[in-house]
């Protein structure tokens, strides 16, 4: 089974080409300064138009041996239907408009802490997640709002969560970096680098288990794990690639390579910046795709998701993309070269899709305008909803610590603490100091 509609080339060919920009990037870091790779020389190199300015037309899939014999199919005429095109466009607009609104709301003090926005990377979320079924799972990072939106979590629930309100998708308990929705199989935004990957691998394992051990033949659910380039230097990534390939798990590792991990350039932190190559190293296909082109992402995603669903195992997809804003809203974003930013801004994935839809007569300007207007309303409505929603009640503090609240133990009267009607109302503050006090005073009196 090959990746239909994309050019598949041998891994070696990629290396042989010395004009390959990626290759040049690799070379530039092959001559580091004396000790541990000085940063100085690299910074100079970075200002060259190197790495990842690969011509947008070539999607390169490098393949493991498993893949080599498969024959190639040529690109079909149109990559998607009108309905699909509009759906994807709407999703991308939603992602962009939602995040822009988050920035505004953050500066107005409506949201708190770290807020990481997704602007510029929409083609990845929309390109992949719009192909999923509701039962399929998505595991994300701290940059998770848009993944949740693409997976169908209503904008108002996400916005309300960001406002720390009771109507949020996690009742205000999770926050920006921790979006969960059991209903939509969004298994979490995870704030620590790499930690979502094993969770996703576990989700894929459970699909396989249900199908093969529990004999639920219809369980063909797949899991998408999203994470960044910086995360690919973390050990959990490698451990999971190994396990997923070993057990042929229905998972796609989607690397959103936006070239930066906060202020650490991908080239400065990674011995071989071509992340997709790690797939073949573990016996699974590795694909590099232009992550600023939603149609290409979608093609690759289709293939990879299909493979996973058919039980053919995992795929590693490296999407070359770029974030249009700082790492988080607190990031001064001083290290990225303005020329680099401009280069990627010119490849805005939304503009690209718009152009394709119009040129191929899949949509008119008016159609797209209507979508934009609709989304504006959705986002406005989400803000109003969030703003008007109540804050969580005090009793919520001690709820959900355990699935079985008897985990809080037995109280002074011999019954479970959680059964005390005052448990969450009167004594939540300070971890039962009042309760403990009473207990101690009782003992005091008895003694």
């Amino acid at each position: 089974m090959a990746f239909a509609g994309i050019k598949v080339i041998q891994p070696l060919a990629l290396h042989a080409s010395s004009s390959d920009p990626y290759n040049r990037a690799a070379k530039s870091i092959a001559t580091p300064s004396p000790f541990l790779g000085s940063t100085r020389t690299l910074r100079i190199n970075q200002s060259l138009p190197i790495a990842l300015s690969r011509p947008a037309s070539s999607i390169v899939a490098a393949v493991s041996d498993v893949f080599k014999e498969k024959k190639l199919k040529s690109t079909s005429d149109l990559l998607l239907t009108k309905e699909e095109g509009l759906e994807v466009y709407e999703d991308m607009i939603l992602g962009r408009a939602f995040e822009d609104m988050c920035a505004q709301m953050y500066y107005r003090g409506k949201m708190f802490g770290f807020v990481h926005l997704y602007n510029g990377q929409e083609a990845v979320s929309s390109g992949f997640i719009k192909l999923l079924k509701k039962e399929d799972s998505v595991v994300s990072t701290y940059r998770d709002h848009v993944h949740a939106l693409s997976k169908g979590v209503p904008a108002r629930a996400v916005m309300s969560e960001l406002f720390g309100k009771k109507t949020g998708c996690c009742r205000g308990q999770g926050g920006s970096m921790h979006m969960f929705s059991a209903e939509h199989n969004v298994l979490g935004g995870f704030a620590f680098i790499g930690e979502g990957i094993p969770v996703a691998t576990g989700a894929a394992f459970s699909s396989k288990y249900r199908r093969e051990v529990l004999k639920q033949a219809d369980c063909d659910h797949v899991t998408l794990a999203f994470f960044g380039d910086g995360t690919c230097n973390n050990g959990q990534f490698f451990e999971c690639l190994n396990m997923a390939a070993l057990w042929k798990l229905p998972i796609i590792f989607v690397v959103e390579n936006n070239l930066w991990a906060i202020g650490m350039s991908h080239l400065r932190s990674t011995s071989d910046p071509e992340i997709w190559k790690k797939g073949p190293a573990f016996g699974m296909p590795g694909v590099h795709v232009d992550g600023m082109d939603v149609l290409k992402v979608r093609e690759v995603a289709k293939e990879a998701i299909g493979r996973a669903r058919r039980g053919e195992g995992p795929t590693l997809v490296e999407c070359e993309t770029y974030r249009f804003r700082g790492h988080s809203l607190a990031d001064p974003d001083e290290l990225r070269d303005p020329a680099e930013k401009a280069r990627y801004a010119a490849r805005d994935p939304i503009t690209g899709l718009k152009k394709y839809l119009i040129e191929n007569k899949l949509a008119t300007e008016a159609d797209l305008k209507a979508i934009e207007k609709k989304i504006d309303e959705v986002v406005e409505e989400a803000v109003e909803f969030a703003d008007e929603s109540p804050a969580p009640s005090r009793s919520q503090l001690l709820e959900n610590v355990f699935a079985d609240p008897r985990g809080f133990g037995i109280g002074p009267d011999g019954s479970y603490r959680c059964e005390d009607p005052k448990f969450t109302e009167g004594t939540a503050q300070l971890c039962f100091d009042v309760e403990m006090k009473n207990l101690m005073l009782n003992m005091h009196l008895q003694g």
């Binding site: 000085s38 100085r40 720390g164 970096m177 620590f192 995360t231 050990g235 100091d433």
Partner: protein
């Protein structure tokens, strides 16, 4: 302008009794600021460094294992065939102090350009420039600057010290604690790592690898040290490097906790003292604002439970400077828990605190506020809450003593118990979880040592028994507030609120 005579002040004898390390930095400064050329003579086993423009003599001494002096040792030994025994001789200390204090107006001619020292001086300039801080008045300093200056000075003083972590270099630190250090010390000593907590930690936990780096340092990047090392050889390498690992926040140390506990903390014991691990793990710890469950928690009690670790919890700028310097100079692994919210806070610091020699003893708590009615123990940010609560309580006629623990392990049982024996009441405050917490340990300590002195049950104030919620109103409920301390303290004093 020569500040050397004003510069050298013996540090406070109460909190910091004179130790070998005290004269370390002046030794370097002297060399930086005094004129050239040097005349170095050996008289009766002592080294007399004479500056041609003056008659001042200077004796180096007490150099072993001390950051600044060690550098001085290298410096001198690059000029002389010097052996350790010579430089360890500090019999003439008082004489030296006398000489240093005697003023030398006509010393100028800095020898930055001198061949032997050229590069070295580059590294020493930060130390020299820190002299501008020395005035007789107290000034204010943020905790951030305190940490930054402590790192800077220790790096200047000891080229074995280097810092490694995510975004410590080009980004100048996620919380700007390492600001400016990359420019001063270069990428070899301010090392940006990929997001690999586990590996960075283990890499540096193992001294054998440190040795390897050490040789690389010598051969590739530090020719001037090479000169210094000629004649010292392996003896110098035997000390190993002194890595300072910055965790962007201590939450991320969870990915590396295996190596903090199993590699760093246990190597000295497992190797029967053959291999010690002089490493510092530092970064912000504790509750932050609005960042949810995974980014907002205190690990004091976690690391405080581990033999082989020293766990420091600075509150003020004085703590930050004195304890970080102590941590870096310490031969054992130190977990250094900072607080993000305190970084921007300013505290008055005395000239003594600004002295590059300033160093606080590990294992000693500080009584931040004296009182007679009740003892409140706290650490890190909670010290400020406890102090504010004490002010409120004062108005109600309760005179609280506030102990800033400074160090969770080893715990200063002595200071705590002395205070409780005086006040007969104890309130412990911490952000971390109550069960098996720092407060629990303090209570046990007091019950063990001063049971008969307690007039009331101990009050333990801690974070609520929940992961940190995101919503601001719930978040506030999850951590101790000043009112809570006031309320609990009144209870401990049998006063109604």
């Amino acid at each position: 302008m020569n500040h050397a005579s004003r510069y050298y002040k013996p540090t406070n004898t109460v909190s910091n009794p004179p130790k070998k390390r005290e004269l370390s930095h002046p030794a370097i400064l002297l060399l930086v600021t005094f004129g050239s050329p040097l005349i170095i003579r050996r008289i009766k086993g002592q080294f007399i460094i004479r500056f041609s423009t003056s008659r001042i003599c200077y004796q180096t001494y007490s150099l072993q294992g001390i950051a600044g002096s060690y550098n001085c040792y290298l410096l001198l030994s690059s000029l002389l065939t010097l052996n350790r025994k010579d430089v360890e001789d500090y019999k003439t200390k008082s004489r030296c102090e006398r000489l240093l204090g005697s003023g030398n107006q006509n010393l100028q001619l800095p020898f930055y350009n001198q061949k032997v020292f050229g590069d070295y001086m580059q590294r020493l300039i930060p130390v020299a420039s820190s002299m501008k801080h020395f005035s007789s008045t107290t000034k204010n300093m943020t905790v951030r600057d305190a940490l930054n200056s402590a790192l800077d000075e220790e790096m200047a003083a000891d080229s074995n010290v280097f810092i490694m972590g995510e975004e410590v270099g080009e980004y100048q630190g996620a919380y700007k604690i390492t600001k400016g250090l990359l420019d001063k010390y270069g990428p070899d000593r301010v090392v940006d790592t990929p997001i690999t907590e586990v590996t960075s930690t283990v890499l540096l936990s193992f001294p054998s690898i440190s040795y390897l780096l050490h040789f690389q340092l010598k051969q590739n990047s530090y020719p001037y040290i090479q000169a210094g090392f000629t004649g010292i050889g392996v003896g110098a390498a035997y000390h190993g490097l002194k890595p300072v690992i910055e965790f962007m926040t201590f939450n991320f140390s969870m990915q590396a906790i295996d190596h903090i506990i199993n590699s760093a903390a246990k190597s000295n014991y497992m190797s029967a003292g053959q291999i010690n691990v002089p490493i510092v793990f530092r970064g912000p710890n504790g509750a932050a604002a609005g960042v949810g469950a995974q980014h907002s928690q205190c690990f004091g009690a976690w690391f405080g439970a581990i033999p082989g670790l020293k766990v420091l919890v600075p509150y003020s700028s004085e703590d930050a400077r004195g304890l970080l310097k102590a941590a870096i100079r310490d031969p054992d692994p130190v977990v250094f828990l900072e607080n993000e919210i305190l970084y921007g806070e300013s505290f008055p610091v005395s000239p003594e605190v600004l002295d590059p020699n300033f160093c606080l003893p590990i294992g000693k708590a500080k009584i931040e506020r004296e009182g007679k009615d009740v003892t409140i123990t706290a650490y890190s940010k909670m010290v400020s809450f406890a102090l504010k609560a004490a002010e409120i309580l004062e108005k109600d006629g309760i005179n609280a003593e506030v102990i800033n623990l400074r160090c969770i392990r080893p715990l200063d049982r002595d200071t705590i118990n002395k205070s409780v024996r005086k006040t007969n009441r104890l309130v412990t405050v911490e952000e971390g979880f109550r069960q098996h917490g720092v407060g629990a340990e303090i209570c046990a300590t007091v019950v063990e040592d001063s049971f008969g002195y307690l007039d009331a049950p101990v009050e333990r104030i801690a974070g609520a028994d929940v992961p940190t919620p995101y919503a601001p109103n719930l978040e506030r409920l999850a951590f101790p507030q000043i009112e809570d301390i006031v309320r609990a303290t009144k209870r401990a004093c049998y006063r109604s609120a």
